[in-house]
Amino acid sequence: MIDYSALLYDPVYAEIGVPATLAAGTADEIELVVIDDTRPKVLPAGSAEVRSVGPGAFARIPELAAAGIAREDYTDAVLSFNGRTWTVRSYELRGSPNGEDLGEVRFLLKAAGSTDG
């Protein structure tokens, strides 16, 4: 069986990943590597459109698990990378051929301090 972590994810993160910190709940802040996945986003406002960004980041689930970060810790965690600080508002799992626990998670982010207002 191909080890996708060793042959795919780790080389990709080594090349385009950036250093990040993640603080979840009352646990100590951890260091990890993420891939910045902030994308342009357009939402309708009636007949008009408003352009902004949908901030996001990929992380490797094994790296999170090794640091003691479980899935129930993802939401509301504070993630900092590339000079900005965000709050995880939701996430989506990206499965791996080796199983979802060895895949990636895509954090869906919002501006730190932003609420569901």
Partner: protein
Amino acid sequence: MVDVREDILARLLEVVATIPNIRTAVRNNVDLTEEHLPAAIVFDGDEETADASDMSMRPPHRPTVVQMTPEIIIAQQSDQVGSDITTLRRELIKRVLTDTELNEQIVKTGRHGNGAIRYLGCQTDVGWMRSLHGALRAQFMFKYTLKPEDL
């Protein structure tokens, strides 16, 4: 020349620009960025008359009653977008329905005029961007007399 439709739309833009905290007030601009927000956009409205059923010998250039329904968009992105949109809506409705120039000089509402301004309702949209984004679409009806000889 008197073009009541244009006078209404131009005045609407002036009125929405006075809403507190509005950063951008534009007319018919459909492409905004988050730096424009909070924004108010006035869209030129559809018009209707009841003249399709008028089979009389009335000369075509006689005055007729028109109902125009412009739409106003309020867009905001913030930590408290729900409260912000509610506040902006309140100011929008109050300012449009009570504006003296719109009521008394352009549409001519009241006992001796046959014009009218009505708030028809609103719809909302929300979604996530950098923070929570909200938009409110409000419709108003302006009833006025179209006088072809004045155009």
